[in-house]
Amino acid sequence: MLEVKGLHATVDGKEILKGLDLVVRAGEVHAIMGPNGSGKSTLSHVIAGREGYTASAGTVLFDGRDLLELEPEVRACEGIFLGFQYPVEIPGVSNLTLLKAALNARRKHRGLPEIEATDFLAWVRDRARLVKIDPKMLSRGVNEGFSGGEKKRNEILQMLILEPRLMILDETDSGLDIDALKIVADGINTLRSPERATILVTHYQRLLDYVRPDHVHVLAGGRIVRSGGPELALELEQKGYAWLEAA
């Protein structure tokens, strides 16, 4: 589904990714771990298409297509979803407005008519229950006045509603208490299917207790320095990253 080859990327002229390779197949869950500043978030944003995150060499293919050529909104409509580490507040624009626009953009991309208002509300209510978000909150501005945990759950809610094929969650687990963490994990597992793939960017093992990854990668110095199964995450939990960085 996603094929990253020899990716070099710069942010503000500084090279952060230095020859990264990653292959994610449909149905797989990949965890990307690594110390601060290793390039985990940069990888997420290069895939999502953030301005200023420039690929200087290498390729990123999504379903065999050159992803780097596409505008961020087109990538989203093609099925890529990025859950933000710091979800953005948009005062005055209600969550429902954003969700409806996002859903309809996807439908338009696929040549489908706009969703009926009643179907939309029913769908949102159904999904909000999964992440324990009061539907009333959705009439408020996007993330406006939401607590840190609510913002993260809201990211998962958006994902559940939009049903992407490739979910990239950038430290969605950080700053969550155990109850919120379970809710987030449930959300991810709900969408887990043979047609979808997930990339979990995380610092900690604890999310992986609830969402069991197929592959674990360690990113350090802009490259993947080690890959393995779920046991690698446990090893990292015990030993830290220093032994890998030194290697």
């Binding site: 999502a48 298409g49 953030r50 301005e51 505008e71 961020p72 909104e73 990538r75 989203a76 409509c77 979803f81 990025l82 933000f84 979800p87 953005v88 948009i90 005062p91 005055g92 624009v93 209600s94 407005t97 954003l98 626009a101 996002a102 953009a105 996807r106 991309h109 501005g141 958006q158 939009l162």
Partner: protein, 483 residues
Amino acid sequence: MATQPQDIQELMRRREYSAGFVTSIESDTIAPGLSEDVIRLISARKQEPEWLLEFRLKAYRRWLKMEQPKWAQVHYPPIDYQAISYYSQPKSHKDGPKSLDEVDPKLLETYKKLGIPLKEQEMLAGVAMDVVFDSVSVATTFKKKLGEAGVIFCPISEAVHEHPDLVRKYLGSVVPFGDNFYAALNSAVFTDGSFVFIPKGVRCPMELSTYFRINERNTGQFERTLIIAEEGAYVSYLEGCTAPQRDENQLHAAVVELVTLDDAQIKYSTVQNWYPGDEEGRGGIYNFVTKRGDCRGRRSKISWTQVETGSAITWKYPSCILRGDDSVGEFYSVALTHHRQQADTGTKMIHVGKNTRSTIVSKGISAGHGQQSYRGLVRVLESAENARNHTQCDSLLIGDRCGAHTFPYTEVRNPSARLEHEATTSKIAEDQLYYCRTRGIAEEEAVSMIVNGFCKDVFKELPMEFAVEAGKLLAVSLEGAVG
């Protein structure tokens, strides 16, 4: 339309370079220039009573001694008032475009985006229409309905003849003939506008809109509108086309006067989208408008709601004089400046009576090289015991070449007054746009979504169908603002 001068400079240039221009003017237009003779001629053509001619002449004489105001934060070349023609009959059908094929395609594109029906597009573009079944029948039913309620709604030139006592009593009673430079000019040369009278105890059975009036007659560049709501009366008045309207008259100096007696209420909504000029700032309307409401009666209320997206320059301060005890004034405004547009707009709330309350909500949006100033005065007189004002003044910037300025003035002469002022300036942040885009929403749609969110507090004051169109209008006006 293409043969009309595009702006005042163009007008002046033509005058300079083609001496024959003046004489070649068709018979329904008075030659450019302003003098007492011209005013007498206007008055004579309209067969006006002597008192109205006197009103015009007094205004003109005062105007001659006045100077164009310079305090506003707007810049434009000097206007040659002698280069303007002050009386022009509506274009006859033969001058207008014969069909939509002859209308500027860019304009039609905009109409299409706004979802305006074809018939309406023709009307807005000034296409000659000999028979329009729909609007004729609509106009007739609505006239009958208003007549039964005792509501008068007609061109002010007609009211001068049909209801002279009312016009004479109220005209210039809110905006005196020498109030300011542009109001004086308007008082001297106004050609037409609307007259509305809602008698005691009547709630106007429908929202009144200039749309119906335009069907009858084109409004001129110096419109004069007078609305009177007697004791306990209510009216909601909608002004302006919700479609972009290219107007051949480039200087637009209107006066609007509102009067509410005891317990009466007037809600006045404007969606202004005159031609704003092109990307480089060529052409466009100079919109210098004086709008004022007089809450003369106790417990009366006047609300101004405006959405200003057009005009090269906007100079406009819809105001309320809260004379009656317990009267209420409101001002809700969205102003948008894009490209080279300039707007200096706001309001004045003059608290005279006891327990008077006013609310000001101003939302300014600047994009491109647009420059915008909010200028608001809250004045509490000694007599205004327990006056209240709340002002909320927010600016939104798109890009880094535009500007927003705020000039709030307060004058309080009664210690019991309570005034609150909140102001914010924000930018549409790059991370907000990126966030929307990662959800699949294209950049322009995201901008329009964020802007609409920003304007929500004002849009909810507009009648529903207006609010929808205002939202679309903002989106169209902001096209190309980012990226």
